[in-house]
Symmetry: C2
Subunit: 421 residues, 2 copies
């Protein structure tokens, strides 16, 4: 049995959740070989929901790294102060465990380099999908494999909203429901604009491919432009719509992106509904691995944090952070990607309109896989749904402008199609 | 970087697969902090499919533990000779990694006790679902949790056959196809009789609940009595049929069993098709975790074995095997379980037959949730399908006998229903 003395910085929901779980599940934790001793807490104020008993609370979180502890658990959130706290802890020879994806995304390279210099570890299982184990799985269980592609629904709020829209509900109503159920923040922009998912795939890409933290800018789009009708048209064509975060190793570049996409209704990711997170990892030896579980929540996050403490106790002290790259490839420009696209077009209902659209596409050498014209909007306006052949992303905006410049076209939106098998 | 000197015992498909994967994926393995040095091989004969280069081959596998190595990878299969080899390796101070579920199932307690005495580790990730990571996940990533229930489709052959029967094919044709595709052995009895799945759930139960290895006898039933028509009737009632291996912690006993069951078509396990393995782990902190991937195959097994070597290099030498129990509860007798049951009855088509069946059930205080009579067999014989209310397993045989004793009843089979949510 190894004893680890832990200092917790931050005393909100996640911190108290961890504190309580260490108490309630102590027999499971000791079975895994670790005796966790919460030695001190850093928090500006008490939390009426949790009494830490005899554990001293320091009002200045920066006092915590100076205590006689083995590891600092950083749960203050935010980026710049968290970075300072983590760096101070590292320089004081403390291991660091964090659930803070934003600070690792933005300052990971600096933090891991400093940690390796000081021979301590920085662990962040809970930063990606809370307690659902994906970080350590990539680092160890899947380590013998070439990771070909990681595709995930990494934001529970987005998945909840899209799953509800698939059932016929409006975006706004569903967002409101998500807020009521506690699945979305009062300011939901990080979730619904794709930033949260982008942070998480940035971290996973760093583990799998050694891409830098922060990574070079990559394409991030949220779910706010999806209309509930898109689900109806997507379904007619055998698809549903998911918000995906993807990283892929191709020959000379790393692909990294987060955006909504049509995915085949038969695919694994299409069938993951609700607030859960789900990940598909395509490997060379095992093939495709699927893992799904809760991606947020006080208790699930506590599990991820405690599993890092257990890992710390069970792991070889000489093995440091292996996040930095062995093979730093550049990140592929988004314009270089190629997709099939879903086009939703509202057009005047006249005999020439289909010809005028297909002509514009043909001028750009873009073929059409399928085309459906629906008669339902009334007022002489019809929706036209296209699935294009594959073409390069950097042609997309030009093509949209060209179609929208036609007098008969009233509206146009596009969604990329993610190929699955 | 830590170097580990490895001796391989056995030189068949799995061993050569591991040998090749260590060579082909060496850059991924070294990125995880390990330099694997295959120091020697123990094999009665060469393998024409794999040339080990300068690595010496010993004709007596029992010479391997005597070499200057850190770890013996046991890949000879079988039980008794494997046990001897593992014990000799342990006593020679070598760590042991094995993909051999049968030897761990039958002699785990003895092997782990001996390993702890000799301060070495015995790892067996590849013994359950090949490279799909479930063993280490239970040991570490999920370790902070109370594991409430583990439900898995742990035998790829059975899952392949049942998925094909669901599509309308006969058992025999599907088994033949599975053999042709390499998913089933020439003698498939271990797979289709449920023994392979039972071995795997025994191992997982030992990790999660500390049940002994070998465990006390528990209920094991294979898929050979399932008829393709059962899928049609199950579907009418909202179910499909899967072969499940289940371990569950209830208040004072451990539940352990492997048998076919009707599961709701909406459940996670119902939607896993084909030869893959899939597991649902119900935990108190994270909630339900799902993981699915290949459960067999040369390369997938190699991944599991190599991940154990990586784990060995990265883990604290002082932490030994935590398989033995902290809280050894007895295994629940199968007769004490309660289920809803699916009854398939072939009866003479006369007006009194339904009444005679329901009367027999009523005499035993067994209620009926639904009852369907189909008219399709011709010759005055009709199939009657019942879903019963929950009753105790130890009443089942008596009830079957009672119904079968009716002159009008020609055939009766039952399948348990696994409740899911």
């Amino acid at each position: 049995m190894k004893t680890l003395k832990v200092g917790i910085c931050g005393w909100g929901n996640v911190a108290t959740g961890m504190f309580n779980a260490i108490e309630s599940n102590n027999n499971y934790i000791t079975k895994a070989g670790v005796d966790i001793n919460i030695a001190c807490i850093g928090a500006r104020r008490d939390n009426p929901k949790c009494n830490p008993g005899a554990t001293p609370i320091f009002r200045d979180i920066f006092d915590i790294p100076e205590q006689d502890i083995d590891v600092v658990v950083e749960l203050i959130g935010g980026v710049e102060v968290a970075r300072e706290l983590i760096l101070k802890s590292i320089r004081a020879g403390k291991h660091v465990i964090t659930a803070n994806k934003a600070v690792i995304f933005n300052h990971g390279d600096e933090i891991f380099a400093e940690a390796n210099k000081n021979k301590v570890k920085v662990l962040f299982e809970a930063a990606v999908c809370a307690g659902t184990p994906i970080v350590k799985m990539l680092k160890e269980e899947l380590a013998p494999n070439k990771i070909k592609k990681i595709s995930g629904m990494l934001n529970g709020t987005s998945n909840f909203i899209l799953s509800n829209m698939e059932e016929g509900n409006e975006f706004d109503d569903t967002l409101e429901l998500a807020q009521k159920e506690g699945y979305a923040e009062p300011d939901p922009s990080f979730d619904i604009e794709g930033v949260d998912a982008a942070h998480k795939i940035g971290l996973l890409s760093s583990i799998a491919y050694g891409s830098s933290l922060p990574p070079k800018d990559f394409y991030i789009e949220g779910i706010t432009k999806i209309d509930k009708k898109d689900f109806i048209y997507a379904e007619m064509l055998g698809y549903t719509i998911k918000h995906l975060a993807i990283s892929e190793d191709n020959e000379d570049k790393i692909e990294l992106r987060a955006h909504p996409a049509l995915v085949s209704k038969k695919s694994y990711l299409a069938n993951l509904k609700g607030v859960r997170n789900g990940i598909e990892v395509d490997t060379d030896l095992i093939g495709k691995i699927h893992i799904a579980g809760s991606g947020a929540g006080q208790e699930s996050t506590a599990s991820g944090l405690i599993s890092d403490i257990i890992h710390l106790a069970n792991s070889n002290e000489d093995i440091l952070n292996v996040v930095s790259s062995i093979n730093q490839k550049p990140i592929k420009d988004f314009g270089e990607f190629s997709f099939q696209y879903y086009f939703f077009i509202e057009a005047e209902d006249n005999p020439g309109v289909m010809a005028s659209i297909t002509t514009r596409l043909a001028e750009e050498s873009i073929g059409i896989e399928s085309m459906v014209q629906k008669d339902e909007l009334g007022k002489n306006i019809v929706p036209i749904i296209l699935i294009t052949d594959i073409f390069k992303e950097d042609k997309l905006e030009g093509i949209k402008d060209k179609i929208l410049s036609l007098d008969t076209i009233k509206n146009l939106r596009t969604i990329r199609i993610e190929s699955t098998d």
